[in-house]
């Protein structure tokens, strides 16, 4: 064999050989680095593919067991390990085994599966128990030589050797543990455990989402239950009020009829005190009659069927004022009516509403001062806002809500008569129309009642 460079001086040959050797070694080093980089790139791609597969399982699985089962399959496929299983955390026992598995050879690992499903793990016990205790992944190169691996004691041939487990985490809480096994001894792989920790966090989101959904459903059920209960209780109350009021009317009418007859026909035979007593009894019975009638109206407001039609509030207000003409004249009141809209409403109830608001405005006047009342309305964003303002006695703003309650009276009956139902009725009417009513007052200056009602109640447009 001919030596290269044989015609060149020997020192030069040595030099060239050395250069060639350097270049060769540099090339080999470059190839090694390149191969390693390619291998690492491939591994990172596989890791990424696993993460994507797990994320997809987490996102589009029907439920938690489905997501966990798919994730176990992906991890086993990635690891090329034959066995994967899930425990779920259980406050009573620590870890409760599930029947969620991936097993490549069911016959071979049958004993292991049976023992696992029959053995809950306490915190710190076995592979899963240690993961639960620390919240960190745990790697066991050979479970058969582990002192703390109860399943190896429970069955002689469990067919698994290397294993690792990692937590499914919701925040810092371990909600489950995934464990994987193979049939040969396996050295720990820190990088793999890190990857599995990420998968555990991803799967934790599935459980977190499931918990949120369950809690929302429970709340909704409770809410629906309470709403039904409330509706039932309201109906009963209304029925009771209606029946009670109706049944009280008749005996009361008799009381009045007979006391009036006695006063008319037998007054001469009574002492003055007797006549006074009987007069008072009759007046009381009359008041009670008014009260019952008001209550009856109040309860009927809710039970009455909806009969909405277009109501011209301007015309309606004019009618109401005509009915109240005597009271207006008696109190020397000035009433100014501005523009009022036409809205979909129950006409009878609107009449009642307007009458109550105007009667109040005339009734609660300041002493020595003629009432000045104004009514007007505007429409904006589909809502009619009607304001009734007066210059009467007003009220302390802290009672703005209280005055709408049944039987709530801010003033004694001796000064201002009434049953304490009028404004409660107003509120009920307005609410039945899907609206709100508000009272603003300043003592000794006046009050403003603002009613806001939708203009349309979704009635068919008249042709």
């Amino acid at each position: 064999m001919t030596e290269p460079f044989e015609d060149v001086g020997s020192a030069e040959v040595v030099r060239l050989r050395r250069r060639l050797d350097r270049e060769r070694r540099a090339r080999q080093e470059a190839e090694r680095i390149s191969e390693q980089a390619t291998r690492e790139l491939y591994e990172r791609q596989q890791e990424l593919a696993l993460m994507v597969a797990v994320a997809r399982a987490a996102n589009d699985s029907a439920d938690v067991p489905d997501a966990l089962s798919r994730a176990i399959g992906h991890v086993c496929e990635y690891m090329k390990w034959p066995v994967g299983h899930v425990y779920l955390a259980d406050a009573a026992v620590g870890l409760r085994p599930t029947t969620i598995w991936h097993i490549d050879d069911s016959e071979c690992f049958e004993t292991f599966r049976r023992v696992t499903e029959a053995t809950p793990l306490a915190t710190g016990e076995g592979l899963g128990g240690r993961v639960l205790a620390t919240g960190r992944p745990v790697w066991l190169p050979d479970v058969t030589v582990e002192a703390n691996f109860p399943r190896a004691r429970l069955a002689a041939d469990i067919a698994v050797r290397g294993g690792f487990g990692f937590p499914i985490l919701v925040g810092a809480e371990v909600v489950g543990v995934m464990e994987f096994f193979t049939d040969s001894v396996q050295p720990a792989d820190a990088r793999l455990l890190e990857l599995m920790a990420k998968i555990g966090t991803e799967l934790g989101r599935v459980i977190e989402r499931d918990r949120a959904r369950a809690s929302e459903q429970r709340l909704n059920r409770e809410l629906a239950g309470r709403a039904t209960e409330l509706a039932r209780s309201n109906t009963e109350l209304e029925q009771f009020a209606s029946i009670a009021s109706h049944d009280l009317q008749e005996p009361l009418r008799k009381v009045r009829t007979f006391t009036e007859r006695v006063l008319a026909n037998e007054a001469g035979q009574l002492s003055e005190q007797g006549r006074d007593y009987l007069g008072r009894a009759n007046a009381s019975a009359a008041r009670m009659q008014t009260l019952i009638q008001d209550l009856l109206t109040f309860s009927r407001t809710a039970t009455r069927e909806r009969s909405f039609a277009a109501v011209d509030l301007g015309r309606l207000t004019a009618d109401v004022l005509e009915d109240l003409e005597a009271a207006v004249q008696r109190s020397k009141a000035t009433v100014v009516v501005g523009a009022l809209p036409t809205i979909d409403a129950d006409e009878l109830q609107m009449r009642q509403l307007m009458q109550n608001l105007l009667t109040n405005a005339l009734k609660f006047r300041r002493e020595g001062r003629s009432p000045e009342v104004s009514i007007d309305g505007i429409v904006s964003d589909g809502t009619a806002e009607i304001r009734v303002r007066d210059n009467g006695i007003g009220f302390d703003p802290q009672y703005g809500d209280r005055i709408f309650r049944v039987f709530e009276r801010l003033h004694g009956r001796s000064r201002y008569d009434g049953t304490g139902i009028g404004l409660a009725l107003c509120r009920k009417i307005v609410e039945r129309h899907g609206g709100t009513v508000r009272a603003d007052g300043v003592p000794d200056v006046g009050s403003t009642f603002t009613v806001a009602i939708p203009v349309s109640q979704g009635l068919p447009t008249p042709r």
Binding site: R22, R24, A30
Partner: protein
Amino acid sequence: MKGIVYNLLEVCVSREYGEDMWDDLLAAAGVDGAYTSVGSYPDEDLFALVAAASEALGKPPNSIIRWFGCSAMPLLAGQYPSFFEPHTSTRAFALTLNGIIHPEVRKLYPGADVPTFNFDGSTDDLLVMGYWSPRRLCAFAEGLLQGAAHHYGEQIVIEQPQCMLRDDARCVLEISLR
């Protein structure tokens, strides 16, 4: 130190002083010399080579390092034109070191341990560049900057009011146009 640095040094030395010189420097420094650009090699190799060159050429080590930086720049400009083309001045180029060039270097050479510079460009005619590295290769930075100036057809003056080689905590390079 990444192998690319040794490859650049080999090209610079061989071009200027011949291939035999590189062989001699390797032998004198007692280093292996089989460098591939993507490999990583001990920093000591570079300092041994610089010491050998200093001995062979009768020049102080820092002057060798400065010469190396200046001679390496045209090679880098030929290899990575995209770092140079967007700019028309040394100053604009230098200001992209931290944000653009070094991140790219890390992509090409994983594990590359590049220094971080801080800049004060508040005055138009002076660029102040802070340098800190346990390698204390401020002379290399100086040489590279001079090389960049040649590339952009500029003449620059670099003053070093502070230098780690004079036991300052860090080096400060003040760069101005001549």
